[in-house]
């Protein structure tokens, strides 16, 4: 396999909830290689999303260390982390999280613009790649859920980030659409050599992954086959 | 014109000390006079540009005086003055100092001073201070109220600065009011809002000031009064009453101070002045285009006054004449035929485009006088730009020549009217 692109060392995230201490992430250590498609399974509340947010620098770990592309997130500071999100990370959310006041094209272009791009052409191409040709100027509420998620994928891909983090990308879609989206997402990532981390509890995600992780009570274990998950 | 209508409304019963008949007449007359007065008021804007309003009419010197008064008086239909105003119809028994005072039974009256002055460095100055009284009514309606109008008083004040070649003038106007203006009947004591001419002990004190212009002079007659015309009855036209009473002090020793705008301290000056007093009720005629009036003092002690009345048809009025006063005070009348006046040059005003005579040769063959005179300052023209534009020239002059074969120097005053446009747009 290739070099490491994401590494965590004894990662902890604790919460203080009404006097009693809890932890969402307990000593997680993972090493994810460039170009890997990783599926992260876990029940609701197991800490998956928290883990993703930590990786994205949106949340700060209570203890431990995260290295993205060999650089310590903690050392980057807020500005560095913002730049990291701009340049190295793409996000795909369960609820799509498109800006409701921007059209499909504008939502995609927004990501480009944040990295300093002024040319809308890649955004148009990205929308074509996700099969939304002709719907560039629609607002999110004028699109179906699947289409919205395609926009979100285009938004994540358009700037060509080395890493895409997907939080339950199909969680809000019917299974047929979900499958299409998943296929699309994985296909695009493979084509671009992008590392993809998908958080999910939909089992079919497993079929697309190079590597399977399961998160239980804030800890991550390696799973070697899809079958193991159902046990 | 229906006078009755406004009359009924305007004259309240309690004010009626006229009879009904007279009320009508008086009202019409007053109205007429007032109209002219009002034009005058409207034509002269405040403070800055005084003298220059008015029109012409009279033949006599009376310079601005005449100018002002003419506006009121010249016009037809002159009030049925015979009814209330006395007229100059016969030669007068003069009695001084009483006759230096006011003659309120005559409608118009003026006290007119002009003079040529020098300071310690022999710089030349000219001054003019004139007081006018004009009767609007023979009696005030409400004698107990000081504001009730009988006469209106004006005064004109001008200074000619021969050093800086500048001309300054100012004017004042007031009804008698509570001691604001007036003229005593017993002797010369004329005042208009702080400007005054008062004769006491045979000497006349003149006082006037306006902003930086100021004047405080003491005048002492060096010769007795000279009566013009027939014992002071000076005819202005062929009709009855077209005349005024008119006398002069042609030579007054003058000393005092003047304040000239642009200088700081008052200047001590001395020189000679000329004084005219004239009163009458109906002395103007209206066929005149203007007049040239010249009053000169010769260095040999003779004083000469000549005037040409220019008629509208271009001729000179036959009544035009002059007066010559000898050093001993005796005077003689100079008929028009005895006066030769030649204009030597002209000056054209930039303001009014009026073309004025600017130098004269005057010959009085019968008296052996031949002099040439020219203005001390060219621009002694008064121009008004207000509703009724009237323009005339009035100023100090100097010159030289010969008298009885001897060289003399000359100074004096000249008044020129009717050269810049009509003699008053009012006509």
């Amino acid at each position: 396999m290739g070099e490491s692109i994401i590494r965590t060392y004894d990662l902890w995230k604790r919460y203080e909830v009404q006097g009693h201490n809890g932890a969402a992430i307990r000593g997680v250590e993972v090493d994810i290689r460039r170009g890997q498609i990783v599926a992260l399974f876990g029940k609701s509340g197991s800490g998956k999303t928290t883990f993703l947010n930590l990786l994205a620098g949106l949340d700060v770990p209570s203890a431990g260390r995260i290295e993205i592309d060999g650089r310590d997130l903690a050392g980057l500071g807020e500005t560095g982390r913002t730049r990291l999100r701009r340049e190295k990370l793409g996000f795909v959310f369960q609820f799509f999280n498109l800006l409701p006041t921007l059209t499909a094209l504008e939502n995609v272009f927004l990501a480009l613009e944040l990295t300093g791009g002024a040319d809308a052409k890649p955004a148009v191409e990205a929308l074509v790649l996700v099969g939304l040709q002709g719907k560039e100027h629609r607002y999110p509420h004028e699109l179906s859920g699947g289409e919205q998620q395609r926009v979100a994928i285009a938004r994540a891909l358009v700037k060509g980030p080395p890493i895409i983090l997907a939080d339950e990308p199909t969680g809000n879609l019917d299974s047929a659409t979900g499958a299409q989206i998943l296929a699309l997402l994985v296909e695009r990532c493979r084509a671009a050599g992008t590392t993809l981390i998908m958080v999910s509890h939909a089992l079919n995600t497993c079929d697309y992954a190079d590597r399977i992780l399961r998160m239980t009570d804030g800890r991550i274990v390696e799973v070697h086959s899809c079958r193991e998950l159902t046990q | 014109m229906n006078f009755l209508q406004p009359l009924k409304i305007t004259i309240p019963p309690q004010a009626g000390h006229f009879t009904t008949l007279r009320r009508k007449n008086s009202h019409a007359c007053i109205r007429d006079m007032i109209s002219r007065l009002h034009r005058f008021l409207m034509s002269c804007r405040p403070t800055t540009r005084p003298l220059a309003c008015h029109t012409a009419g009279d033949l006599f010197r009376v310079i601005a005086v005449a100018v002002v008064i003419a506006v009121f008086v010249l016009l037809p239909p002159v009030c049925p003055a015979a009814e209330r105003w006395m007229e100059a119809t016969a030669p007068r028994q003069w009695s001084f100092p009483r006759d230096h005072g006011s003659h309120p039974r005559y409608r118009t009256e003026w006290w007119y001073f002009t003079g040529n002055l020098r300071d310690g460095r022999a710089n030349r100055y000219g001054y003019q201070l004139t007081f006018f009284r004009y009767g609007l009514a023979t009696e005030p309606r409400l004698p107990a109220n000081a504001w009730s109008i009988r006469d209106i008083y004006f005064a004109h004040f001008a200074l000619t600065d021969g050093v800086r070649k500048v001309f300054h003038h100012a004017e004042r106007i007031s009804r008698a009011g509570p001691g604001l203006a007036g003229a005593k009947r017993t002797h010369m004591d004329v005042r208009v809002l702080g400007w005054s001419a008062v004769m006491e002990g045979g000497r006349i004190d003149l006082r006037a000031s306006h902003e930086a212009m100021a004047l405080a002079l003491r005048l002492t007659p060096a010769k007795p009064a000279v009566f013009h015309g027939e014992r002071g009855l000076s005819r202005k036209g062929p009709g009855p009453g077209e005349a005024s009473y008119y006398y002069s002090f042609t030579d007054l020793r003058t000393e005092g101070t003047i304040g000239i705008p642009g200088t700081t301290a008052p200047l001590a000056v001395e020189g000679r002045s000329w004084f005219d007093q004239e009163f009458g009720s109906n002395q103007m005629t209206k066929d005149k285009a203007g007049w040239d009036w010249i009053a000169l003092r010769l260095s040999d002690g003779r004083d000469l006054m000549v005037y040409h009345l220019r008629k509208k048809d271009g001729t000179v009025e036959a009544e035009s004449s002059g007066t010559l006063v000898e050093p001993d005070g005796t005077s003689r009348h100079l008929p028009l035929s005895g006066i030769e006046m030649t204009v030597l040059s002209h000056w054209t005003s930039e303001k009014s485009a009026g073309r004025y005579p600017a130098a004269w040769r005057i010959r009085i063959p019968g008296a052996g006088i031949e002099v040439t005179v020219s203005p001390l300052v060219a621009g002694q023209e008064l121009v008004t730009k207000a509703a009724v534009p009237i323009t005339y020239w009035e100023g100090a002059v100097k010159g030289r020549g010969s008298s009885e074969g001897k060289d003399v120097t000359v100074e004096g005053y000249v008044e020129l009217t009717g050269y810049a446009g009509p003699l008053g747009g009012i006509f």
């Binding site: 500005t79 272009f109 990501a111 | 007429d32 007032i34 109209s35």
Partner: protein, 829 residues
């Protein structure tokens, strides 16, 4: 960056109705401030213009310290070397039919042309002939007058008309233009003397003076010399407290406006919170988000400000009129003309709107900066934490109140300190809103539950749950209602105090003529004195003077009569205070005492005709006749000081027990009318004073209305936002079986509940505010004590206003419910 901004700005378009409400809210707040400022400025400018117009070219005026000036003085003035021009003036009033009073100037057209153009313009537009006739009539007809255009038009006068007045019929000879709009009659000075029985006297001389200092030195004793600037200053000073109050009123309106903007900004943040989360996640920096938000707020603020500037300009026309009327009744004639339109109005409005928006959005901006994308994207709202912060905010409120209290203690330092205290108080009070809502829920829930069932309970719950949003709207509304209650209660208390004062001080049976009115001939006073059975006649004269450089007034009365019949209320002592007054000492009003710090036992120096004179002060009495203070003295003292025999008015006192009372009253009335003097019974006189009083507060009332309008937009905006935010819940409601009517009721209930909480708070805050106005602001600006007096009316009116505003504010959401609810489904965004 552009896309970020664009994404925010599109909300303005997408939520048009909400944006419109917010825009209008800002606009009205700004309009109130701009309108009041402009009205105040136009009043001031008109004042200067009026002074300039009548002053013309005069640099100074010379008059006696009190009463008319002997005309002989003019001749002396004419010879004074410093005097370039002088113009005598008689400046009086005549009464027209219908009781209208008009200023009449007596002028000398000859002297006046050096100073003013009025008389020189007689007949200007006419033919020569007509002009001459007019001028002649003016000079010689004792009844001839000139009348200004406005008055002529109003009264249907033209040249030739007859104008009946208290001084007999006047004949209009000419109508002249008066740019100041002041009704004006001009007569020849001699005629004016006769009209007013002033032969030998004038009121003042207008002068053009070259060198002021030597002139003043020569005319120091017995004369009052005022430069044009001083005149304007005096008039401006007369208006000082009045103007300041206007300005502060407009600031209150702006204060509510800022709260409103805060409200707006906060709602904007709420709806942008999720977007901010997304943007952060995809790599936008917080600064970019803050900037985008700022742009949005500024656009709203700028547009609202611009609109406010425009509205304010329009409003200023109305306000100026109201202000002009109040000033005319109270001080002197003033007819402010609308200021010409200037783009500065727009600029000022924009600056104000933008600045207020910046201030108002600052807390929200900070909140936006703290957005945690993780939580936001998971759909958690921050308002849940509001409960905790409620107490903290209330603590800040308490601190503000403490600051306010401290400021009130220091209020005597300067009026502004008092005003700062009032603002601190209002700020403090508004910070308690959250707590008030929390406390009121246990009361409101069962109340609304019992009236409206489940909808009502949910509504109250919603308000409680969305505390962060509702509390600001409630605060803005509450402050506006408090202003309304406070101003209302203050006016009512004041009115009650005035009534009390009138009943104690103005106890005459009849009042003949009034201050500033037609003067009463002295022989009429003597004539009345001859009627047997009259208990006493108070002979009243009031003049404005300058004391220690400030305008104030002197009143002369008959001390013996007042001692016997009136019931002055004194700071110390009682009726015995009159004894020394009869012997030459003076008493002063509360305003005078406070303004000049003069107390019983002090001595004051007044400039009389014979120079300065020292007078002992032997009493201080309550008085509301003028905030500039009154020095009251017996007529004998007054005559000695000023030798002014003018009488403004007579008060007729008749013993209650006199059996011939009615007959006596009728007799006095008859004789007064025969003289053409206006007569008022005590009741009529009191009513007139109250009319004037009410007129004075017209401005205050209009500001009250403005505050409520601002508040309306606040509460409407709040309801609308709540409604929009909650629309997605509608699917759930529908699924649960709520009918359209239920949801509509829910919406109405929310509005009403917020209205009720606001009103309940405003009852307390408003009353406290009234007390502040009375005990601090009024005392410091008008220097008089007003006694708080409870009346129901302001509370009732405000309560109804609150209810109406809440219902009206709910109108759009309810309409929207009826339109959209039937088709909503459960759906995530």
């Amino acid at each position: 960056m552009k896309s970020v901004i664009r994404s925010f700005l599109r909300y303005l378009v997408r939520r048009r109705s909400l944006s419109t409400l917010h825009l209008l809210g800002i606009a009205v707040g700004v309009a109130a401030a701009v309108g009041m400022t402009l009205a105040s400025r136009s009043a001031l400018r008109s004042l200067e213009e009026a002074v300039d117009f009548l002053r013309g070219g005069a640099t100074h005026t010379l008059e006696r310290p009190a009463g008319p000036l002997e005309e002989e003085v003019l001749a002396r003035l004419a010879t004074d070397p410093a005097v370039r021009s002088l113009a005598p003036v008689i400046d009086r009033q005549v009464r027209l039919e219908g009781d209208e009073k008009i200023r009449l100037l007596g002028l000398d057209p000859f002297l006046d042309r050096e100073v003013r153009s009025v008389t020189a313009r007689i007949g200007r537009s006419e033919s020569d002939d007509a002009r001459q006739r007019l001028f002649s009539a003016f000079l010689f007809d004792p009844r001839a007058v000139l009348v200004d255009e406005g008055t002529a038009r109003r009264l249907g006068l033209a040249a030739g008309s007859t104008l009946p007045t208290s001084q007999g019929s006047l004949k209009v000879v000419y109508v002249f233009p008066n740019p100041t709009g002041e009704p004006l009659i001009v007569a020849d000075i001699g005629h004016a003397q006769e009209l007013f029985g002033l032969r030998g006297m004038i009121d003042r001389a207008d002068l053009v003076i070259a060198e002021e200092a030597p002139f003043r030195a020569r005319w120091d004793k017995g004369f009052k010399i005022e430069s044009g600037r001083q005149k304007t200053e005096t008039l401006t000073a007369l208006l000082g407290a009045f103007r300041l109050n206007l300005q502060v009123l407009s600031l209150f309106a702006l204060f509510v406006g800022v709260l409103l903007i805060y409200n707006t900004a906060m709602f904007a943040v709420v709806s942008r919170r999720r977007d901010a989360g997304i943007l952060l996640a995809i790599g936008a920096s917080r600064r970019q988000i803050a900037a985008a938000f700022l742009v949005e707020v500024l656009i709203l603020g700028t547009a609202g400000g611009a609109l406010g500037g425009l509205l304010g300009y329009l409003l200023s026309g109305l306000l100026a009129k109201v202000v002009g009327e109040a000033v005319s009744t109270l001080y002197f004639f003033l007819k402010p003309s609308a200021l010409p339109w200037s783009f500065w109005n727009l600029g000022g409005g924009i600056v104000l709107g933008a600045a207020a928006s910046l201030v108002g959005c600052l807390p929200s901006l900070l909140e936006l900066g703290r957005v945690e994308p993780v939580r936001v994207l998971q759909g958690r709202t921050a308002s849940r934490g509001a409960r905790k912060t409620t107490n903290r905010v209330a603590l800040w409120g308490a601190l503000c109140l403490a600051v306010a209290a401290a400021l009130f203690l220091l209020a005597s330092l300067h009026l502004y300190v008092g005003f700062a205290g009032a603002f601190a108080f209002l700020t403090g009070a508004s910070l308690f809103t959250g707590l008030a809502i929390v406390w009121s829920v246990p009361v409101l829930k069962p109340l609304f539950g019992s009236v409206m069932g489940l909808s009502g309970r949910i509504a109250v719950g919603n308000i409680r749950e969305n505390l962060g949003r509702t509390s600001v709207a409630v605060a803005a509304f509450m402050i506006a209602l408090s202003l309304s209650i406070g101003l209302g209660a203050m006016i009512d208390s004041f009115r009650t105090s005035v009534v009390w004062w009138m009943n104690s001080q103005l106890r005459g049976e009849l009042y003949i003529s009034t201050k500033g009115d037609v003067h009463v001939p002295e022989d009429f006073y003597e004539e009345l004195g001859g009627i047997a059975g009259i208990g006493g006649i108070d002979i009243f004269r009031n003049v404005q003077i300058t004391f220690r450089g400030k305008p104030t007034s002197v009143t002369s009365i008959d001390a013996s009569v007042l001692q016997r019949y009136d019931r002055f209320v004194w700071f110390e002592g009682g009726g015995e205070n009159w004894e020394p007054v009869k012997r030459g000492s003076v008493i002063v009003s509360e305003s005078f005492s406070r303004r000049f710090d003069v107390k019983k036992g002090d001595r004051i120096t007044l400039d009389g005709v014979d120079g300065p004179r020292e007078l002992p002060v032997t009493g201080v009495f309550y008085d509301y006749s003028t905030e500039h203070g009154v020095v009251m003295m017996d007529r004998s003292t007054y005559l000695g000081l000023y030798r002014d025999r003018t009488i403004n008015s007579l008060g007729i006192f008749i013993d209650e027990t006199n059996p011939d009372r009615e007959a006596l009253i009728a007799e006095v009335k008859r004789r007064a009318r025969a003289r053409g003097l206006p007569v008022a019974t005590r009741a009529e006189f009191h009513r007139r004073i109250l009319d004037i009083f009410d007129g004075t507060f017209a401005v205050t009332r209009s500001m009250r209305i403005l505050a409520v309008i601002v508040a309306f937009f606040g509460i409407a905006g709040a309801l609308m936002t709540l409604f929009l935010e909650r629309r997605k819940e509608f699917g759930i409601f529908r699924a649960l079986g709520f009918s359209t009517g239920d949801v509509a009721r829910l919406t109405v209930a929310e509005g009403v509940a917020m209205g009720i909480v606001s009103f309940a708070m405003s009852v307390i805050v408003g009353t406290a505010f009234a007390l502040i106005l009375i005990k601090v602001i009024n005392l410091e600006s008008f220097h008089w004590t007003v006694f708080y007096h409870f009346t129901l009316q302001p509370y009732l009116v405000t309560g109804l206003t609150a209810l109406a505003a809440s219902l009206a504010a709910a109108a759009y959401p309810v309409w929207s419910v009826y339109r959209k609810y039937p088709v909503v489904q459960i759906r995530e965004e």
